[in-house]
């Protein structure tokens, strides 16, 4: 198994391996997203309290989950790059940032749109909303820091340290609704108890969550491959790919 990982870390092998993976992931994403949206927007019953407005959760909740998940991927690959100096880990970490920022932005915007009719306000400075906004700034800061350092190696290390420092925000976001009283609701699914959502709504929610995950991985691979070619353009395999 370790041998496979060593092989995977080699740019050329990764480049070939991921090209096939992207194709299948894209297909899975389309199937999951289509069925998730159909079940969520058409088949699922309205909520007893929020009526049809709750349906925005099928975008909002997966986006919010992804905003934290992508950050962890970014921080862990950053740490791998710091410790083992694996080029590919750095490229993955770098490719995560704009994707994570987009998911965070999407979660904030859909949350705001949901908040207006239900809570009666677009935005409040409660612990959950504020910590999620800080997450967006962390992503933007990560990208800005990287862009501001000319030398790629230095840039990758500085950015990785920033990503590691920001990890502390992830548990704060997750537990903010339990530690403090907030306007935002408590966890519905991500808790040890049985999810407090009816199965007919839970299934489309989980389908959408998986769809977001496979979407993320496929787009991440596309970005990683492009950056690989940019950095390896002098090597023979990259030249061969580029001249195709």
């Amino acid at each position: 198994m370790w041998q496979f990982f060593h092989k995977l870390a080699s740019p050329k092998f990764f480049y070939d391996f991921s090209s096939r993976l992207i194709f299948w992931l894209a297909i899975v994403t389309i199937i999951l997203m289509a069925s998730g949206l159909y079940m969520g927007l058409v088949e699922a019953p309205p909520d007893y309290q929020q009526k049809d407005s709750y349906r925005i959760m099928f975008i909002h909740v997966p986006a919010a989950w992804m905003s934290m998940f992508v950050y962890m991927v970014m921080a862990i690959t950053g740490a791998i790059n710091l410790i083992w100096r694996i080029k590919l880990a750095d490229i993955i970490s770098m490719s995560c940032a704009p994707l994570g920022a987009s998911f965070t932005f999407l979660a904030l915007v859909t949350g705001s749109i949901w908040g207006k009719p239900m809570w009666g306000t677009w935005w409040v400075w409660d612990a959950r909303l504020t910590s999620e906004l800080i997450l967006l700034f962390l992503y933007l800061g990560y990208m800005a820091l990287r862009a501001s350092i000319e030398d790629k190696t230095n840039a990758s290390r500085a950015a990785a340290v920033l990503a590691l420092v920001g990890v502390v925000n992830i548990p704060i976001i997750h537990y903010s609704v339990e530690w403090w009283n907030t306007l935002h609701q408590g966890p519905t699914v991500t808790k040890f108890d049985k999810p407090s959502i009816h199965t007919s709504m839970l299934i489309p929610l989980l389908l959408m969550a998986f769809a977001f995950k496979t979407y993320f991985v496929s787009v991440l691979l596309v970005r990683t491959r492009t950056e690989l070619l940019v950095r390896e353009f002098r090597s023979s395999w990259a030249r061969k790919e580029l001249s195709k």
Binding site: I83, P117, M118, W119, Q185, H198, S200
Partner: protein, 151 residues
């Protein structure tokens, strides 16, 4: 693992643990400021100054909602099942506002212990289910009945 990598691994662990500890201390120190709202019990305990803008959170007491003749001013009580605070609010209420609903009112406590709200926000809980399931739960007595929107 070679010593160089081991050292770098230790640095990484130290960064995460150090920042984590610092954040934990900060968050505990600011515990009170992190709360988005205060409860009726805290008001009853005299935790707030009169005339200072605060956010009050709790549930609208059953049977406490009363509208004035102008059709805009509402009176209700906010409870946390231990203490109650009477609230006066003039304006449009959010759709989810009803008796038994969790709300957050932003305003000031006046001299006669009345909470005058400038803004009322509705809080919804983490439960999602079809209306029929809620009805069944109410019938079986597992959930207290919720009222349709107060008119």
């Amino acid at each position: 693992m070679n010593p160089k990598r081991k050292k770098r691994l230790i640095y990484v662990v130290l960064i995460v643990a150090g920042v984590g500890a610092a954040a934990a201390l900060m968050v505990t120190a600011f515990q009170q400021n992190m709360m988005y709202f205060i409860t009726p019990t805290e008001i009853a305990a005299g935790a707030v100054q009169q005339g200072r803008s605060i956010r009050l959170g709790g549930v609208v007491s059953e049977g406490s909602l009363r509208r004035e003749n102008d059709g805009l001013t509402v009176h209700f009580k906010v409870t946390d099942n231990a203490n109650e605070v009477p609230v006066r609010y003039k304006g449009i209420l959010p759709d989810l506002f009803r008796e038994g609903q969790g709300i957050i009112a932003i305003g000031k406590v006046t001299a006669d212990n009345l909470f005058v709200a400038d803004e009322v926000l509705a809080k919804h809980d983490e439960n999602y289910m079809p209306p029929e399931v809620m009805e069944a739960l109410e019938k079986s007595g597992a959930k207290s009945p919720h009222k349709p929107e107060a008119k």
